[in-house]
């Protein structure tokens, strides 16, 4: 269900009027979404959904409780308010209580496009055809997914806080395989604006990768230079960027910890060519202007020229440590170079080129050791060109170690909610071969 700002304000005001708590916050969000899946060169499942989410957080002094519902009639809203307040009454006092925010000023960002909201099942079917038809002509098999959503998010409390924004998103991904299962290629594209989801180009790239990945040769496990395409960079670096938590670091249970309850802010943790920041206003990202608690999203530099400049501080931890709260690292921009992925390949003597990773997981968060596998397009690059496909690997590697070995980057492109470059690193540890294709 989509509500405009006035309608959202009416519902939140009504919920607040039902409450008796000292402080009460309401998060209200609604959305419509549509998706189409295809596989084996045919459409499989497809659907449209609409829903609403109302989350109520109530405080009596330092005692808090929460309840959520998706029903908007008065009886359901009163029931949810009562539930949140009942929980708050019986909860012990929260030593981590911080007062609710009053009115805030938010960045002027509008992550919404009418065209995305107007997308139809016919458009999705055309996108599926754009992969299926050329794949069939080449004797290949396509599988993919196209989805889009539009919605709104609002936050308000009884201390004067108010925020509202609309959002939209569309994404397309496709995997093309040979009929004998010996070759596979993948590509994806996403944007807030559906006309930027260029699905024909994406399908073409996946087909090309599938064709190039035939006759993969075995390369022994070991340490090799690599080129990680942006999707692979985003997957691996999420373990580093989303663990930039000050509290874990200060408590001694994070890679970013130092003995004595200290953290690594101010230390050089990556190569001098690495800068990572959040920028919700970046036109290729258009992030969300506020977080769940109503805290404004900000432009923040996390790593600058290899030096850790900032960690994520929640409102509670910031208050305890005498810092400014930062909000969670969102709208991440990993600053890249100027050229394309193709330019980076041309500039490379020898490397394993990796399209994307699969099933990445922490092995040891203390050392930030991560394992996972390569998938859907792994190649040997020699003297500036792709020479042949190689069989997939399992890796055991640290994203921070990789950030210390970067010898080249493409310009950054959008992957999910982040902007990341393709990255060339001088050494990457592959621990075993995977028979998977």
């Amino acid at each position: 269900m989509i509500l405009n700002e006035a309608e959202a304000r009416t519902i939140i005001s009504k919920i607040l009027s039902f409450g008796t708590a000292d402080e009460m916050r309401v998060n209200l969000a609604g959305w419509r979404s549509g998706n189409t899946r295809f596989a084996l060169n045919t459409v499989t499942t497809s659907g449209d959904q609409e829903d609403l989410s109302i989350s109520i957080t109530a405080f009596f002094g330092k005692k808090k409780g929460a309840a959520s519902t998706n029903e908007v009639d008065d009886a359901a809203l009163k029931r949810a308010v009562r539930m949140a307040e009942d929980i708050a009454r019986v909860a012990p006092e929260d030593p981590e209580y911080v007062p609710e925010l009053a009115s805030q000023k938010y960045l002027d960002v509008d992550p919404y496009f009418e065209s995305t909201a107007a997308a139809t099942p016919d458009l999705r079917a055309r996108a599926a055809e754009a992969a299926v038809d050329p794949a069939m002509k080449k004797g290949l098999v396509a599988a993919g997914f196209f989805d889009h959503s539009n919605g709104f998010s609002a936050v308000g409390n009884n201390k004067g806080l108010w925020g509202y924004y609309r959002n939209s998103n569309a994404s397309y991904s496709v995997t093309v395989r040979s009929t004998d299962g010996a070759a596979s290629g993948w590509d994806s594209v996403d944007s807030r604006k559906i006309e930027d989801v260029e699905y024909r180009g994406s399908s073409g790239r996946a087909i090309r990768k599938a064709e190039e990945s035939r006759d993969a040769k075995r390369l022994d496990p070991g340490v090799y230079p690599v080129i990680l395409e942006p999707q692979a960079v985003a997957e691996l670096m999420s373990f580093a960027f989303f663990t930039l938590d000050a509290r874990s670091a200060d408590e001694g249970r994070s890679f970013f910890s130092k003995p004595g309850g200290k953290n690594k802010i101010g230390e050089k943790i990556a190569g001098s060519n690495i800068t990572v920041r959040s920028d919700p206003t970046h036109p290729d990202l258009l992030g969300e202007p506020f977080g769940w608690d109503g805290l404004p999203a900000k432009k923040i530099t996390w790593i600058e020229k290899g030096v850790l400049k900032q960690l994520f501080y929640s409102r509670y931890w910031a208050q305890k440590q005498g810092k400014e709260p930062t909000g969670f690292p969102g709208s991440v921009v990993f600053d890249g170079g100027k050229g394309s992925l193709e330019d980076l390949i041309k500039d490379t003597d020898k490397a394993v080129l990796i399209t994307r990773f699969w099933y990445t997981n922490f092995v040891d968060p203390e050392t930030m050791l991560v394992t996972g596998l390569t998938r859907d397009g792994t190649f040997w690059v020699e003297k500036g060109r792709i020479k042949h496909a190689v069989r997939n690997f399992r890796f055991n590697e640290s994203p921070v170690a990789v950030l210390n070995k970067v010898t080249g980057m493409s310009r950054s492109v959008r992957v999910g909610d982040s902007l990341v470059p393709a990255v060339r690193a001088s050494a990457f540890t592959f621990s075993s071969i995977s028979d998977a294709v």
Binding site: N41, G47, Q49, N70, I87, V90, T371, S432
Partner: protein
């Protein structure tokens, strides 16, 4: 409720659908999170809505909404029909359903105490006492504890005439202790080995969380000074709290028929168990028997009927080491590739769905999801103590840790919560930095001993992921401790 479902089914029928179903469901959850002496979050959530699925000219359409009114049920059904028609342009393979049996029934999880009716104060008190007990152990610095309770009240109706009401409960208490060394330079964690279950609050009460708190804290502290493992090939004895996850990843996912045929190629992946291997491949040693089961008491995936309205059942996936079947839904029974593979593998034709259709919400489209999958206990009398006594040079692994497996389920790497060195039949001390890595088929063929039914128990997860858009599935996996010979052991420590 029937008035609403009739609106959808009549609209679908008169609009030309050859099959339709509607699920109206309410999903409730309660989450309680604490750490040390404080409560971090308590929330009760509800989500109510309906989803309509139609089959028109061999193509599926689906639409769902939270606005459960007669007028909107009719609108949403029309939208589902329009989606099915829009998809006809990309239809290269018609969906054919086998005859569907009419079912009218009610089913409920076998709970003794409704977790949503237990006072929150009592739950908070238990969790804070767990934290306090853990923190009494010297070196234990943090303890985070939680409870999560889920309930699905689901009403299903289909054009086959079925009317099914199901009330499903799931409960999961858990806690993790973190120990720091004196310099503050290193930390280790230990998560308790209490799995989620399809039971009520009685399961929480019987889990002895307070009794386990000090044991988990002591093991977290011991891990700080445990010997770093020597990598190489070793025999491993896996406790059910570890082996359940290996069963899930290396047998559960590869025996999903949709994966094997390529329906999940863009996301979850395909499978090394391709249809040409059905009835032929020696997936494990002859003592390995693996059963799928949607009916076992307290199983997370247990229910009376699946989301196709098919009565649930149990069947073998692996019999005497041989791969003999897949997990199926109604639609999949008609897939010619499946029937041809059965014939080629010397198996009788499939005449029924195994009932593996599931949608994680009213807003989600049902598709093939994993049932409970169990390794059957060994047939010869064997206890864990006897198995360890019979092992010369090995590692005994308890609890689930880091996990990763490739998209066709060949190459896996698993960690654990606690690792113990076995030398000449005795546990000689704790190890750290351990991960085992293997090929699924080689691993199951290296299984040379399975303890008997006395030590059979279930593990499981609320969060088995699959599909686009992603859906979760709760699933249990039972087994007895088992031994696997000469498995590749990695050292994952900082000096490795």
């Amino acid at each position: 409720m029937k008035e609403l479902t009739d609106i959808a089914l009549n609209a679908a029928d008169s609009g030309g659908a050859t099959y339709a179903d509607i699920r109206i469901s309410r999903h409730r959850s309660q989450d309680i999170w604490t750490r040390e002496e404080r409560v971090q979050w308590v929330e009760n959530s509800e989500s109510y809505g309906f989803g309509v699925r139609v089959l028109v000219d061999g193509t599926w359409g689906f639409a769902a909404s939270h606005r459960v009114t007669a007028e909107n049920v009719a609108d949403v059904t029309r939208r589902a029909m329009a989606i099915a028609r829009a998809n006809k342009t990309v239809l290269r393979k018609r969906v054919e359903l086998p005859p569907v049996q009419k079912q009218i029934d009610h089913w409920q999880s076998p709970i003794e105490k409704d977790p949503f009716k237990i006072p929150i104060e009592r739950k908070i008190d238990l969790l804070l006492r767990v934290n306090a007990e853990a923190l009494k152990v010297k070196g234990a610095k943090f303890c985070m504890s939680s409870m999560r309770f889920l309930n699905e009240e689901k009403f299903f109706a289909s054009t086959a005439g079925s009317l099914l009401e199901q009330n499903i409960y799931r409960s999961w208490p858990s806690f993790t202790v973190t120990a720091l060394d004196e310099s503050g330079a290193e930390f280790e964690t230990r998560t308790v080995d209490v799995p989620p279950m399809g039971l009520g609050y009685e399961f929480v009460e019987r889990a002895d969380l307070i009794g386990l708190a000090s044991k988990m804290a002591e093991e977290a502290v011991q891990k700080l000074t445990a010997k770093s493992v020597e990598p190489g090939k070793k025999d491993i004895v896996l406790h059910p709290t570890n082996l359940w996850l290996t069963i899930h990843e290396s047998v559960g996912h590869p025996t999903e028929l949709d994966r094997a045929l390529g329906y999940e190629a863009n996301y979850a992946g395909t499978s090394f168990l391709t249809t040409d291997k059905l009835g032929k491949l020696k997936l494990g040693s002859p003592i390995v028997n693996i059963k799928a089961d949607k009916t076992i008491r307290s199983g997370l995936a247990s229910c009376g009927y699946d989301d196709d309205g098919v009565k649930t059942s149990e069947w073998h996936l692996v019999k005497d080491g041989v791969f003999v079947d897949y997990q199926t839904t109604l639609e999949q029974v008609s897939w010619p590739e499946y029937q041809a593979a059965r014939k080629a593998g010397g198996l009788p034709p499939a005449d029924r769905s195994y009932g593996c259709s599931y949608a994680d919400s009213w807003a989600s489209v049902p598709f093939q999801r994993m049932p409970n999958i169990h390794l059957e206990p060994g047939k010869k009398p064997l206890t864990l103590e006897q198995l360890i006594a019979d092992t010369d040079d090995g590692i005994y692994i308890v609890g689930d840790g880091s996990w990763s497996i490739d998209q066709q389920r060949y190459n896996f790497q698993f960690g654990g919560q606690a690792f113990f060195e076995i030398k000449k039949g005795k546990i000689t001390g704790m190890l750290r930095d351990v991960a085992y890595q293997a090929n699924s088929q080689e691993f199951w063929n290296a299984c040379d001993a399975i303890c008997d039914e006395r030590s059979w128990e279930m593990g499981g997860s609320f969060y088995d992921g699959k599909g686009e858009p992603g859906q979760i599935n709760a699933v249990s996996h039972g087994c007895s401790p088992a031994r696997f010979r000469k498995v590749n052991i990695l050292n994952t420590g900082k000096n490795a």
